[in-house]
Amino acid sequence: MSRERNLEILVGAFMVAGFVALFFLSMQVSNLSLGNAAEGYQLTARFANVGSLKARAPVTLAGVRVGRVERVTLDRTTYEAVVALRIDAEVDNIPEDTFANIFTAGLLGEQYIGLEPGGSPEMLRDGDEIMQTQSALVLEQMIGQFLFSKAGGDS
């Protein structure tokens, strides 16, 4: 009787330890904030060049993360990159004339999308498109242009 009970207590303790570990991993290690799993609304933006922007890259506004890149696809008629953004539901007042830039975190860091809100009273709704965008700065191109203009200036 008491051996059986000890066994049950130990198994119970094991399961609690396992779930505590899972809970610790979810809350402390990962960015789980309850309820924003697939919520929020979707915006799209077209870029001439997205550089190395990947799905799941952060979308920030004033440096604060407000969403994530959902996917990056190619528009085969205009040869533009179409980026789908998933914006958190509570950030529902992004003006229509907002500017979307692709920035790089640090010199070699990953790329993310920075939003600069405009002044329009009209807000973007689910499925809308951000019309004003600026492509990623490709470091190699910039260096190439710089060298080219240097060479041109000298002659």
Binding site: L7, E8, L10, V11, A13, F14, M15, A17, G18, F19, V20, A21, L22, F24, L25, S26, Q28, V29, S30, N31, L32, A37, A55, R56, R65
Partner: protein
């Protein structure tokens, strides 16, 4: 005579196929016998003790050391790029995505899988399984099904313990010993480790490993030649096949989950 080697090859091939078929029939029988586990939860608790509780010590000690080594090695590499703040991210991501599920599965295959094989092999060798059948008790339901579910349930919990203890080990070495800023350690980790992408995928991985490792252990025990040599071979095969299956499956699962 001319075709003798060819015939041997064919026989070997057929033997492998036959074992695979028997393994799948056993798995099917176990799954069909799942009701027994619900009717007699005592049996499941005893197996959770054998497979889970008794593995906690080795799992948490290994997790601690793996995390500490990750902290040291990660710091060495990241310091060259001036990115020691990412140490937490490195430790947590590699533990949650890969090392937690894989190393736990390998340890469980070695510690609990071999014990399961030997136990069931000996039951077969001493004709206890046949005895149960004589008493009209289905050994697959009574003996194998609780062990199967015990292994499948214990594996993700053990992997979570491994990863959590490992993160703490990495924190201890990185922040305590090497002087990484504690705030940056945790915040980089929380920013970049995603719940669905990383943690849920890690749990799915360890569930799959739990099924495979326990299945292999039960099949090897149930299918062994009922002699002392046969039991010892079955134990060896459990560990070897279990480890190979875990590593091979890990590649496939990683390619499916993260290979984008």
């Amino acid at each position: 005579m001319l075709f003798d080697p060819l015939a041997r090859l064919g026989r070997a091939g057929l033997g492998v196929l036959e074992r695979l078929g028997r393994a799948h029939r056993l798995l099917l029988a176990i799954l069909l016998g799942s009701a027994e586990v619900l009717l007699r939860p005592r049996l499941l608790i005893a197996q959770l003790y054998n497979i889970g509780v008794l593995s906690v010590l080795i799992i948490s000690v290994s997790g601690l050391f793996v995390g500490m080594v990750l902290g040291l090695q990660g710091h060495y590499v990241l310091a060259r790029f001036g990115a020691v703040e990412s140490l937490g991210l490195m430790v947590a991501a590699s533990l949650v995505r890969e090392l937690g599920p894989v190393v736990t599965a390998l340890l469980v295959a070695g510690r609990a899988g071999s014990a399961l094989s030997a136990e069931i092999g000996l039951m077969k060798a001493t004709e206890q399984l046949a005895g149960l059948e004589l008493m009209a008790v289905d050994p697959v339901r009574r003996i194998l099904a609780p062990r199967f579910y015990g292994g499948v349930l214990a594996m993700p919990l053990l992997a979570a313990i491994f990863s959590a203890v490992g993160v703490l080990g990495g924190f201890f070495v990185g922040v305590g010993l090497l002087g990484v800023d504690a705030g940056a350690f945790w915040s980089q980790m929380q920013n970049q480790v995603d719940f669905r992408e990383d943690i849920v995928n890690g749990v799915i991985k360890s569930l799959v490993f739990g099924v495979v490792v326990t299945w292999i252990a039960l099949f090897q025990g149930h299918d062994c030649v009922p002699t002392s040599e046969g039991v010892s071979r079955a134990t060896t095969r459990t560990v070897v096949l279990g480890a190979l299956a875990v590593l091979g499956l890990d590649f496939i699962l990683t390619a499916l989950m993260f290979g984008d």
